[in-house]
Symmetry: C2
Subunit: 336 residues, 2 copies
DNA sequence: CAGAATCTTTACAGCGCTGTACATTGTCGA
DNA sequence: TCGACAATGTACAGCGCTGTAAAGATTCTG
């Protein structure tokens, strides 16, 4: 059987299409008896509105896209979950777009891919420079997530990575650690994020009167957890001495944990380990992982709010929102 | 500036709309020079097709929905990632729908929510009975994931949970364990899955001539990781002796690990632990987690294939596909 | 070289819905 | 009792695209 259309309901109820439309959309000025008659016809025929047609007529899709590197990364999974929940409350649905940190895929997100499909995009770029983003996105409402260099025309939401790194390192210092490594420079990674985290790392050391040792900044070959593992291995092989390490994300921290324990270092006694993201991983490791904790819910909420304003027609220069963060203290770097 | 439409390009290139449409869609019989002329106009104006309009005209959306309980559960995250990849290769995009194991949300997935929005749905139900599903889904192409009771009209893909549980338990038996617990009956959980896993559990014990002890089947209060933790705690408090445990998923296994280690049990020496799903979690725990490993990629691939046939117009009774599984051996239940 | 066969291109209806403008009915005050 | 004004309901264009049928252009036969 063919799908039931608005006009079928209208015929059955002996009214105009528009009246049926009004009932479906809860328009206020419809007589109760008329509403009941139409509703009866709807129920009898099992009518469901065709959303595609509605979209074409209204020009809004009621969907937003969330474009991120990997959906099975815990941080992004949690962000997606929060955003989907917030969006749903506000009458929007979320399409999740995986870029796998591929430059082409990121470009596609802003171009053809979403055209006319979504009302707006929330995008965590990793490969594209802000300027290219600004050039491509035309008038599609867009909000960026994460640290971004010089975003003049585009809204974006982030945490204060300098302060967060400083807080993370300060926590380690408060435990009496002095030789604090930073694990997470990735070969060929061009993002601003690490730069700012390193800044905070240095500031915290400075504040405590500790002279930074460049050898303590560890570089990994890739983004995989095992790359962190390898980097720690190499550092230990090279005789590097350290009593704490701040990692770029929880996966790296889990890798570091493994490597350290394999080499007989006790965590946290010999080396305190601090992750970043405060993701579900922190609960699975042994010891559980202390972690720098971006306020993910707020991140998602603010990104949605900014996007919503743009979708309502707001124009103007890019706005920047900074969201809070905390330090989730667990066993790998306990309270002193 | 308003969006560029097909007709704008047509005017600029001095051709009919349809010719532009043919160029955009790569239709074969267009003269090269004509194609070039149209393409030039497209480029000059920066034309992008409006997907909503195309959908309304063609009747297909090019999207499928994946509805699952939680997207930030590692198993589902990985399934989503696989499916998105497979679908993309075949020219489809995936909308992810979170039901949070809520009966209303599950119902919504099959009803209004997706109407006219997607060409088909892949759905992992947890609350709805198959009969209700069959009743609701009308002619929307649908494929179910996971164990399902008596699905006569609906396609579905699953692993052989009986055999998988048997293999998991057999592995533990091969390590010399005799007192093997099963962790994962959840209060009020009505799914078929556990029933079948328990069957496999019993079969393996039978085969080895071990008399099953009902006390070894542990029940948790909920689906959270901490519920597993608590259940193990209670079992130990109650003086239950066991030397191995098979868990319903890796999160539960992680919880069990924590509880056991907190109570001074060594894993795997005193108690071997086996997870289920072979998710990323297995790498984060210490020791790393052995796990029953459904072939997730195959699960996603088969589900897509079945759905694809339905979307192509295939009718007929529900088909059932069983996908392979393995045992991923890691440190928590090593090879003997 | 006429007529058939094939290749290109065009015109236009229609996908299912909503927005707008207008027609109809009912209500109320003077 | 009548006009003014709101409250309801209707007719129809149009959102941007593609499918269909048919016209026009070109090439191929005998």
């Amino acid at each position: 059987m063919a799908r039931v259309r608005l006009i079928d309901v209208a015929e059955r109820a002996q009214v105009s299409m528009k009246t049926v439309s009004n009932v479906v959309n809860g328009y206020a000025h419809v007589q109760p008896q008329m509403r009941a008659r139409v509703q009866a016809a709807i129920d009898e025929l099992g009518y469901r509105p065709n959303l595609t047609a509605r979209r074409l007529a209204t020009g809004r899709t009621g969907m937003i896209a969330l474009a991120m590197p990997e959906i099975d990364h815990p941080y992004f999974g949690e962000m997606a979950s929060h955003l989907a929940e917030i969006a749903l409350q506000r009458g929007y649905r979320v399409i999740i777009e995986q870029t796998l940190s591929d430059a082409e895929a990121e470009k596609a997100v802003l171009q053809d891919r979403e055209a006319g499909l979504v009302d707006g995009v929330i995008f965590q770029p990793t490969r594209m420079a802000t300027l290219d983003i600004a050039r491509l996105h035309d008038d599609l409402p867009l909000v960026l997530l994460g640290e971004v260099d010089a975003p003049v025309t585009t809204d974006h939401v982030m945490i204060d990575n300098v302060a967060a790194a400083r807080d993370g390192v300060s926590h380690l210092i408060s435990l009496g650690r002095r030789r604090i490594a930073f694990l997470g420079l990735v070969d060929g990674d061009i993002t601003m994020t690490n730069h700012r985290r390193l800044l905070g790392y240095q500031e915290a050391l400075d504040d405590a009167g500790i002279r930074p040792d460049p050898g303590l900044v560890l570089t990994t070959a890739g983004f995989d957890r095992h790359d962190a593992d390898d980097a720690v291995d190499r550092a230990l092989d090279g005789g590097l001495a350290f009593d704490a390490v701040l990692c770029r994300d929880d996966r790296f921290a889990a890798g570091a944990l493994t490597a350290l324990q394999r080499r007989g270092r006790r965590v946290p006694e010999d080396v305190a380990v601090m992750g970043w993201d405060d993701s579900a991983i922190t609960a699975y490791t042994s010891p559980t992982l202390s972690s720098v904790a971006p306020d993910k819910r707020q991140l998602a909420a603010n990104a949605f709010d900014l996007l919503h304003e743009r979708m309502q027609g707001h124009h103007g220069p890019g706005r920047h929102m900074v969201v809070g963060h905390g330090i989730s203290v667990r066993a790998s770097a306990p309270a002193r």
